[in-house]
């Protein structure tokens, strides 16, 4: 658990779970904690539910975990939905309208599904209004990032992700070395150079201090710009 923003509300990053089974991918989860509400961003797969909720209880009581966000439909993002559905009957799930019929397969009977249109939208948590930024085809066909203009954090889902061994530091410390941890992942998982360019243009308009992906290390300060420049030059969609 690492605090990445501590202002009138907090951003907390969860990851590097030591008890995670070896054969499942390591993921980063994020929490935005305001005075009486709590948003979990990409809360994770079924295997992660128990450690994730236990970790969240250090910061908020169950009844104040009011919102979940799924950047896209992958199992490591949100296959725990059926369990959150039992734990948080009054919560809302913010996810793409396109994925609704699919995500409900994980079990979503009591949680309210708040569909996000392709243009994105906002999530208002009282002290902060988060922006839901479209990132379609990056990698999922209906895909969103979360941007917090006050904390200057962009939760970028699989963009900026790297698959690294357990115990990896929280932030990129040497960008040039880190590039090799990201290259294949981005070339293989990101299908469209056009979608990539649109996303980069959109993100360059934002004031981002921390770029926080769902796997691997976060980028801070100048490394955010370095990442955008590197990604812009990278050819993706290499498997065809």
């Amino acid at each position: 658990m690492t605090s990445i923003y501590d202002g009138p509300y907090q951003w907390i990053m969860f990851g590097r779970d030591e008890n995670k089974p070896e054969n499942i991918i390591d993921t980063n989860q994020y929490m935005v904690r305001t005075s009486n509400r709590c948003l979990l961003i990409d809360p994770g797969g079924v295997e992660l539910f128990a450690p994730m909720l236990a970790a969240a209880l250090h910061y908020a009581p169950v009844e104040q975990i009011t919102d979940l966000f799924a950047s896209h439909q992958d199992p490591d993002i949100i296959s725990s939905l059926g369990l959150w559905d039992q734990a948080l009957p009054d919560a809302k799930l913010h996810a793409s309208a396109l994925w609704e019929g699919f995500l409900r397969h994980f079990g979503c009977e009591t949680i309210e599904y708040v569909p996000i249109s392709d243009n994105g939208g906002t999530i208002n948590l009282g002290e902060v209004e988060l922006q839901v930024i479209p990132a379609h085809y990056m990698h999922s066909s209906a895909n969103f990032n979360i941007y917090d203009p006050q904390a200057k954090i962009l939760m970028s889902g699989d963009i900026g992700a790297a698959l690294e061994p357990a115990g990896t530091p929280m932030f990129v410390d040497n960008f040039d070395i880190h590039v090799e941890n990201m290259r294949f992942f981005h070339q293989r998982w990101m299908p469209s150079n056009q979608a990539k360019r649109v996303w980069i243009d959109r993100v360059r308009e934002l004031d981002v201090d921390i770029l926080a992906p769902q796997h691997g290390r976060m980028f801070k300060g100048d490394d955010v710009k370095r990442f955008l420049d590197w990604f812009e030059a990278l050819q993706v969609g290499i498997a065809v």
Binding site: F49, A50, P51, L53, A54, L57, H58, Y59, A60, P61, V62, E63, G82, L83, Q86, A87, L88, P89, G107
Partner: protein, 204 residues
């Protein structure tokens, strides 16, 4: 309930749907055989006079079986949904137990108690509903056995009546034979459903 028991439960409930589908097909075959027998008996006239009311009775038994199986199918579908619900509730409660161990010492560990108690209650309700529905389904399956048994008796009577039908003897005997076989198939399939359900019924 352990993983193997859960699997057995899913497989048992799914296999019931398959067996019932076969019963439905056979009941429809009986209905067709009854129509066929009626036509033959009509052509045979006086020689098959005793056979004619039997054909109506065979048809009624087939219809009764079809109606019963349709109702049972609906219950089998509900039972499948209950199996899914029970599995989800049991799994959720198991995960909550893990959370309660991992969350010891956290600032808000007490807040887990209410959802955990709620989950436990729902799990017990699901188990209870499942048991009730299994008992109900077992009773309904026993009911389907009645027309199947009656059909076998009718098949025996049909053979006697067929023996007096002169040149129509072979055709009517074939009808009696097909009703008898169909009744036996229904009996066996329903018996398999009951055995599968009885195993599930014993799972705690």
């Amino acid at each position: 309930m352990n993983v193997d028991q859960t699997k057995s439960q899913f497989v048992a409930v799914a296999s019931i749907a398959a067996e019932l589908s076969a019963v439905m097909d056979v009941a429809k075959e009986i209905s067709l055989a009854a129509a066929n027998a009626k036509a033959i008996a009509f052509r045979a006239g006086e020689k098959a006079k005793g056979f004619q009311p039997i054909t109506d009775f065979i048809n009624e038994l087939a219809k009764e079986t079809i109606d019963l199986v349709e109702t049972i199918n609906e219950h089998a579908l509900s039972l499948y949904q209950l199996t899914v619900d029970e599995h989800r509730m049991t799994e959720a409660y198991k995960r909550f137990e893990e959370v309660s161990v991992l969350a010891v010492g956290s600032a808000y560990e007490d807040s887990l108690q209410a959802p955990m108690a709620n989950s436990h209650q729902k799990m017990l309700e699901c188990k209870r509903d499942f048991k009730l529905n299994v008992t109900l389904l077992l009773d309904q399956l026993a009911e389907v056995m009645h027309p199947a048994r009656a059909a076998r008796v009718i098949a025996a009577n049909s053979r006697i009546e067929a023996s007096q039908a002169g040149e129509y003897l072979q055709s009517l005997q074939a009808v009696a034979e097909s009703v008898d076989n169909a009744a036996q198939v229904i009996h066996d399939n329903v018996q398999r459903c009951r055995s599968a359900l009885s195993i599930v019924d014993l799972i705690e």
